[in-house]
């Protein structure tokens, strides 16, 4: 369970003797357990509620639909988890999704329609490259120019959507790409391809954080940037890479969103997804101050938020009520975070 969960090395604390408690992550008491793993409990409750009260919920088609809707949120949240792990935040992920979508449209459109007539594979590649480049730019502004991440990426949030609008000429572009149908509807072992992609990326992110030197550097910077500099870690290079990864992941999400919509919509693709992603990281037990990355928690957080929205829509809860419910959950998650700082 905790295989994909990593915290920064902490000073050794007195160990509880019980191996079981350690396995359950209970070494720091119930409050800490709730903080770190409460989202699993919340998800179980939500699934149980749906199983009993949502018509048609426990059917293969409904689960498959959820798995088709989830990947963009999960993938963006993975990048967000890494960035938050460094003590930063990436508000530009939604704008990067829009840029990737716009680049994809420009490449894949026929020359007669103002595009480059590239194959879908090439178009997708350049869309992701565009995301990586924008992310690397963010990282450079944060790491080299030392602009606060919230400010640097806020700038890109605004500018990025402008760039996407310029690339598409301001309007929604409909795309008739046969491959998109495969992306939307294709399944392996009953699970949509896009969910496999999200799962593979999640495992890769977990390995990156837990098993690689890069992952330890990332956590070290999030834990204490100054100490990392003094310890001789390549702080700038690491930060630029983290933001580039976040941008690249957002671009993958943008490509999937475009395939789902069968259109590039620069005004709305990925709009406000940064907030969903931050929420996923926070309810997944991640610390906004950095120094900690919980990949599994983040994925479960993303699933929880998406399922919550689906549940509210399924039960025809009025928009106003739905927002209040979502706000309460976010406040609760932040409150749990806060209690750590005061303890």
């Amino acid at each position: 369970m905790s295989a994909a969960t990593t915290t920064a090395p902490t000073t050794p604390e007195p160990r509880e003797p019980s191996a079981l408690k350690a396995r359950l992550g209970l070494t720091n008491g119930w409050a800490a357990w709730l903080r770190a793993r409460g989202v699993y409990l919340a998800l179980i409750v939500l699934v149980a509620y749906n199983a009993f009260f949502t018509f048609n919920f426990l059917t293969l088609a409904t689960i498959q639909l959820l798995f088709a809707q989830l990947p963009p949120v999960i993938i963006v949240s993975l990048g967000m988890a890494l960035v938050i792990g460094t003590g930063g935040v990436d508000l530009s992920v939604g704008a990067i999704m829009a840029i990737a979508s716009a680049v994809l449209a420009r490449f894949v459109l026929a020359p007669g329609d103002g595009g480059l007539g590239a194959s879908i594979g090439v178009a997708m590649l350049f869309a992701v490259v565009a995301g990586v480049l924008v992310g690397a730019f963010n990282g450079t502004v944060v790491a080299v120019a030392r602009v606060q991440p919230i400010v640097a990426t806020l700038g890109m949030l605004v500018a990025g959507r402008g760039i996407a609008l310029v690339i598409t000429g301001g309007a929604l572009i409909e795309l008739f790409v046969p491959f998109f149908r495969t992306v939307r509807l294709g399944k392996l072992l009953g699970v949509p391809y896009v969910m496999w992609v999200a799962a593979i990326l999640a495992v890769a992110a977990a390995v990156l954080v837990r098993r690689s030197a890069f992952g330890y550097r990332l956590l070290a910077i999030g834990g204490n940037r100054r100490a990392s500099v003094l310890a001789g870690l390549p702080v700038q290079r690491t930060l630029i890479t983290v933001y580039a990864i976040s941008g690249g992941l957002a671009a993958v999400a943008g490509v999937i969103a475009t395939a789902r919509l069968r259109a590039s919509d620069p005004s709305f693709t990925g709009l406000l997804i940064e907030l969903t992603a931050i929420t996923a990281v926070v309810v997944g037990g991640g610390a906004l101050a950095g120094g900690q990355v919980r990949i599994l928690g983040t994925v479960v957080g993303a699933v929880f938020i998406q399922l919550l929205e689906t549940t509210l829509v399924s039960h025809n809860v009025p928009d106003s009520g739905a927002r209040i419910v979502e706000a309460l959950i976010i406040i609760a998650a932040i409150y749990v975070q806060r209690s750590r700082s005061s303890s």
């Binding site: 949502t54 406000l272 025809n316 927002r323």
Partner: protein, 394 residues
């Protein structure tokens, strides 16, 4: 071993994040930039069901609020559904005549031209001015009301003798309006009327669509398409926006008025006027309410999103699920031709010729009515192909 973990969270970072996360809950208010004829709408404040229901002397309250006092019985020009007096003249506000061969006028667009409605609306103004050889300045406020104020004042400072404008919202343009009044510049609001700002008195003649009527016509089209029997889902526009309320109220009122009890509304959920939300909400809807066989989408984009979801589920086509939407964009009209939509009620963005004619009559001629309601077309299989060929669908 270095102690990596921070002992406490930065208070500033926490509160900033909290604010951001709170904003996550306001997803419904994001249609400002792309929703056709939507966002911070500026319909008269009177609630819709009352406004068109409770007429005073044959004048709906909404029209009264916009300065109309009586319905004119004279023949209306083409493209106009109704005109409401009094007839106002520029000279009443001390506005002098305009020589359009030498003087400049201005067009202030409210939202960025990223959706078909806004693109067509600006194009209509520019084309109409070009056809007549008028000199036209154009601005775009990008959904920012302060920007629109300064856009309008800026054009007046550059010498514009009249401003045709699409107001972002009802209350925020007082600054520009009083500046125009002071400078004796004619003001013509189009596509939405402004609450508490009366045609003839504070501004010149107003021209707009009737969003409630659009909802009613959508209901008529839905009754016709389904034969009066359906399990119906409504994809609402952005919450807290009058266009949404008007199109909902008109639709539900008309179902009641026509006694269409066979049409059961089983689902109403906002999809924010966007294609993406239209798709995801419809996907969820199809799982929770598989018996739904009719969808009323309050704009074309949500309708097209619903169609994408239906297509993925193998339920596209009006023999499986009926769709009626409002706007009249090319994509939706094309969907009629392809047998996926039943009908589309137009929300006509082409105010160029009518607004410029009203301006001419207002300053140079016999005056223009305080409030003009323009005609919206309606498309179904009988005229959809023709609308695409002629370019009437925008």
């Amino acid at each position: 071993m270095v102690h990596f973990r921070k002992s406490s969270l930065s208070a500033a970072a926490l509160s900033a994040s909290a604010l951001l996360l709170m904003a996550a809950c306001s997803t419904g208010q994001t249609a400002g930039s792309g929703a056709p004829a939507s966002s911070a709408a500026a319909e008269p404040s009177a609630s819709v069901s009352q406004s068109l229901g409770a007429d005073q002397n044959g004048v709906p309250a909404a029209i009264t609020a916009a300065g109309g006092t009586e319905k004119l019985t004279t023949a209306v020009p083409e493209g106009v559904a109704a005109e409401y007096g009094p007839i106002c003249k520029g000279s009443d506000l001390g506005i002098g005549k305009i020589d359009f061969t030498t003087d400049t006028i201005g067009w202030a667009q409210s939202e960025k031209e990223a959706n078909p409605f806004r693109i067509a609306s600006t194009k209509s103004q520019v084309d109409a001015a070009k056809a007549k050889g008028w000199k036209l300045l154009t601005t775009n406020a990008q959904s920012n009301v302060q920007q629109e104020n300064s856009d309008i004042k800026g054009m007046i400072d550059k010498g514009a003798k009249a401003i045709i404008f699409s107001p972002i919202n009802s209350t925020g343009l007082g600054d520009a309006i009083s500046y125009a009044k002071e400078k004796k510049v004619a003001m013509i609001p189009v596509d939405r009327n402004i609450t508490g700002v009366k045609g003839c008195e504070t501004v010149g003649p107003q021209l707009g669509s009737d969003f409630v009527e659009q909802g009613r016509r959508a209901a008529d089209a839905m009754i016709k398409a389904t034969g009066g029997n359906a399990k119906l889902a409504i994809l609402l526009g952005a919450s807290g926006v009058n266009v949404t309320d008007d199109r909902t109220a008109g639709f539900l009122d008309q179902l009641k008025a026509k006694n269409a009890t066979g049409i059961e509304v089983v689902f109403q959920q906002t999809a924010d006027f966007t294609r993406e939300k239209g798709k995801s909400v419809t996907e969820t809807l199809l799982r929770a309410h598989p018996d739904v066989n009719a969808i009323y989408a309050e704009n074309d984009e949500m309708g097209l999103g619903a169609l994408a979801a239906l297509d993925d589920a193998g339920k596209a086509g009006t023999d499986s699920v009926h769709i009626v939407s409002i706007d009249g964009t090319k994509g939706a009209v094309q969907a009629i031709v392809e047998g996926n939509f039943d009908a589309v009620i137009e929300s006509n963005p082409a105010y160029g010729p009518s607004a410029q004619a009203a301006l001419d009559a207002y300053v140079n001629g016999d005056g223009a009515p305080a409030v003009t309601i323009t005609t919206d077309n309606q498309y179904d299989l009988s005229n959809a192909q023709q609308a695409l060929d002629s370019g009437a669908a925008y």
